[in-house]
Amino acid sequence: MTETALLRHPRTAAIGAALVLLAAPPLLSSFLLTLLTQALVYGILAMSLDLLLGYTGLSSLGHAAYLALGAYSVGILTTRHGANFWVTLMVGVLAAAVAAAIFGLLALRATGVYFLMITLALGMVIWGLAHRWVSMTQGDNGLSGVPRPTGLPWSVAEGVPFYYLVLIAFALAFVVLRTVVRAPFGQTLVGIRESETRMRTLGYHVWLHKYIGFVIAGAVGGFAGVIWAYYNGFVSPADAELATSVEVLLMVALGGRGTLFGPAIGAGVIVMLKNLVSVYTHRWLLILGTVYIGTIVYAPDGIVGTLRSWLAARRRRPVGVAGVVVNPEGGGPHG
């Protein structure tokens, strides 16, 4: 292989991105560093949703629920019980995984738009709990005064060390999800996206595969929520809002479904856009909607997907599609 295009070399691209992210803090103002930190947290959430939306072809509109469960775990445990980072991490991820395990039983009975509506409704249940269960969540006031993580070998009270903690969390989530999608299980999710009926008659218990994927996505979403609460220092029903779920969905679509790092890029773009645009206007949702329509109409494969096909067209060669490890340049051993 002699191509120099980064997209043809995911490993090179990943190392390059990692170096940029590692070297970023001294080069950025504290405002931009905060935005980058936020983008990384949303990146975790967007990548976890990509497992459903991009790989399995399941459009979930309730992914904010897991973010909220992770975040509220942190909010409640730190402000009431002074729990350290590791306790909140375990509880937050577990709470989200358990919720996904229950929600999955309900949502995966349906497909397509019905699946979307059920996940939306279940997401609203979590929002309702956050809003109404005042004794636990402080309702609309939210839980303020969430401290920076404790129990770590180094202090992350300042912006830069905290940024590195978030970067580690992001890298961990990326590695976990990438391992899953490259493993046989991840390939079965892609197969389900492409043809569920064929998968069934080939011997796959399709529901089980979707269910496992759904729970993994929920757990990683909860992981994002844990980090999010520490980043914000504040947890409120806004974390569970439908608008949050929609935003994440847009991050995945904009970045490129089924590419894993695409949604992370999408998260970066949306976070930057949101914060820069809000300086000039309050009509953020209008802008979001415009970007969404623009993406669907002009670049349905998202940033990464569009770049890939553009590169492929330039080379006039077929290219493996998102989520497929076996590509023409000889993924896999030749037997």
């Binding site: 391992t179 899953v180 490259r182 493993a183 046989p184 299980f185 991840g186 390939q187 079965t188 892609v190 197969g191 492409e194 043809s195 009926t197 064929r198 998968m199 069934r200 008659t201 080939l202 011997g203 796959y204 218990h205 399709v206 089980l208 595969h209 496992i212 077929p318 493996g320 599609v321 497929v324 490890v325 076996v326 590509n327 023409p328 340049e329 000889g330 993924g331 896999g332 051993p333 030749h334 037997g335």
Partner: protein, 251 residues
């Protein structure tokens, strides 16, 4: 298969109704192990519906299905596949955005325990790759392994249909019009491919092209309005006046 006397497939009064419409009406059928049988019948006779009942993709309204002597009437499709059943589709049903090899790997993995593995990358499963490539050799698509399936010709996609079904080494193969939409030359290629299949494999196929049907199979079941109207060796069925009237006579 120790016991060749156990039929590969036994249908007893199998029925399927969609609302008031009876698509499959009390069909009883025995396909012996190693037998090659074709189901013929005019469009709308319920042939494809019957296949989806056998594969478990649709629930029956009534009746009983046995695979290799085991009652599978209520088993989901993946459990039936695990017993050695595989099918192809009349309307090509592949994984269009995946490569030919990736398609085949999914098929190979369908009955392997590795399908739920979460940690090792797919590339490490060299035995699956070897099996997938041998299947591609068998259906003549080895040189296309790196191409996306949607870039294949219709004929190649039909060949891959057979490949996916064969990947799990089935004992009973349901072929739903393997030559659908093929040009005569491609059709001949397909016939040759089907004739090369391991004679141990029991085949039940739906086919409109009688030349293909009689070359691959030796027994015929005629379905008309969801019912079996004739059943026997090709020569007997061809001579059956009822069959001539409703089906062969129409040509």
């Amino acid at each position: 298969m120790a016991d060749r006397s156990t039929p590969a497939l036994k249908l007893t009064d199998v029925s399927k109704a969609f609302g008031g419409l009876s698509a499959v009406d009390r069909v009883s059928l025995v396909v012996g192990a190693g037998e090659r049988r074709v189901i013929i019948g005019p469009n709308g006779a319920g042939k494809t519906t019957l296949f989806s009942l056998i594969s478990g993709e649709q629930p029956l309204t009534d009746g009983r299905i046995e695979l290799f002597g085991r009652d599978v009437t209520r088993l989901p499709p993946h459990r039936r596949a695990a017993l050695g059943l595989a099918r192809t589709y009349q309307i090509t049903n592949l994984f269009p955005k995946l490569t030919v090899l990736a398609n085949c790997l999914l098929a190979v993995q369908g009955l392997a325990s590795s399908k739920l593995h979460l940690h090792r990358p797919m590339e490490r499963y060299t035995d699956h790759f070897a099996r997938a490539r041998s299947v591609l050799d068998a259906v003549g698509l080895r040189d296309r392994e790196g191409d996306e399936v949607r870039t294949l010709s219709h004929g190649e996609q039909r060949q891959l249909e057979i490949g996916l079904a064969m990947a799990g080494s089935p004992r009973l193969l349901l072929l739903d019009e393997p030559t659908a939409g093929l040009a005569p030359a491609e059709s001949q290629l397909m016939t040759a491919l089907l004739k090369r299949l391991d004679p141990e494999i029991t085949i039940l196929m739906i086919e409109h092209d009688m030349d293909v049907a009689f070359e691959v199979t030796d027994r015929v079941t005629v379905l008309h309005y969801g019912r079996v109207v004739a059943d026997g060796y090709a020569s007997e069925v061809k001579a059956n006046p009822l069959v001539q009237e409703i089906y062969l006579g129409a040509e």
